[in-house]
């Protein structure tokens, strides 16, 4: 069954999304390490939508769903408009980011390092970032 939350596009709601994902992963008995990684990747993808797609317009919203299929946990972030190609985006290397004194550029790098599957589903009036992570069988002892 999918757990689901719809939040207004405010950066303040990122904490709400993290708490929601963390709590559902705890119910699924996912290990703390894997849970922390999924929470971080979700936070990065949602921040991308809220800041870059919506310019923090709190009258708009995104939807986050979470479910487990066999040994993979999926996070789906549903948003309107056109998706940023997070799955095949080639970010600058770290040295370039330092040289440019840029504050951004690390989030998509993190999503791709933390998750095993990063996909985008394009629909007529919305898109879905679909992030998947293989889960080990042993939760925390």
């Amino acid at each position: 069954m999918k757990a689901h939350i719809k939040v207004a596009c405010s950066k303040q709601n990122l904490a709400l999304i993290r708490d929601f994902v963390k709590s559902r992963l705890k119910d699924m008995k996912i290990s703390t390490k894997e849970s922390d990684q999924i929470v971080l990747a979700t936070d990065e993808a949602c921040a991308n939508c809220i800041i870059h797609h919506h310019q923090c317009d709190h009258t708009t919203s995104i939807e986050v769903s979470l479910y487990k299929q066999k040994d993979i946990v999926y996070i789906e972030i549903k948003d309107k408009g056109h998706a940023f190609p997070i799955h095949n985006y080639e970010p600058n290397n770290l040295e370039d980011i330092v040289k440019k004194r840029a504050k951004g550029g690390l989030g998509i790098m993190l999503i791709n390092k933390l998750m095993d599957e990063v996909q985008i589903e394009e629909h007529l009036d919305h898109f879905i970032y679909k992030l998947g992570k293989y889960i080990s069988t042993s939760p925390d002892r």
Binding site: K11, L14, L40, E44, A47, I97, V98, A102, G104, L106
Partner: protein
């Protein structure tokens, strides 16, 4: 975000408290900028009170690395929680950012 500032003899320590994400990292950014503009070029960020850090928090430190270097100053991080340290390692940032955990080493680093 609560940010405590402590003036030491050789440097300033900042102790942020709480998650450092896209929302709260702006406050830390402003605080560092204010110190730099005031001529404070030796800065220790004690991250013991930061249980979570997203790329926005990492980005604040990365964006200042060259500026501290240009001004012949030092930016040091200490007491990263294990999951925050893991994110630094994952991106290879531990090689770019100075991370020191013992008080003695920090004092020596700023004296040297």
């Amino acid at each position: 975000m609560e940010i405590n500032e402590i003036q030491e003899s050789e440097f300033v320590t900042l102790k942020p408290v709480g998650d450092l994400d896209a929302n709260s990292s702006i406050e830390l950014d402003i605080h560092i900028r204010r110190l730099l503009d005031a001529g404070q070029i030796n800065l220790l960020i004690d991250c013991a009170g930061v249980p979570y850090m997203s790329s926005a928090g990492l980005g604040v430190f990365v964006s200042y690395l060259d500026e501290f270097k240009d001004q012949k100053g030092k930016l040091v991080l200490s007491n990263l929680t294990p999951n925050v340290a893991e994110v630094f390692d994952l991106l290879g940032l531990s090689k770019l950012v100075t991370i020191i955990n013992s008080k003695e080493e920090v004092a020596n680093f700023f004296k040297g």
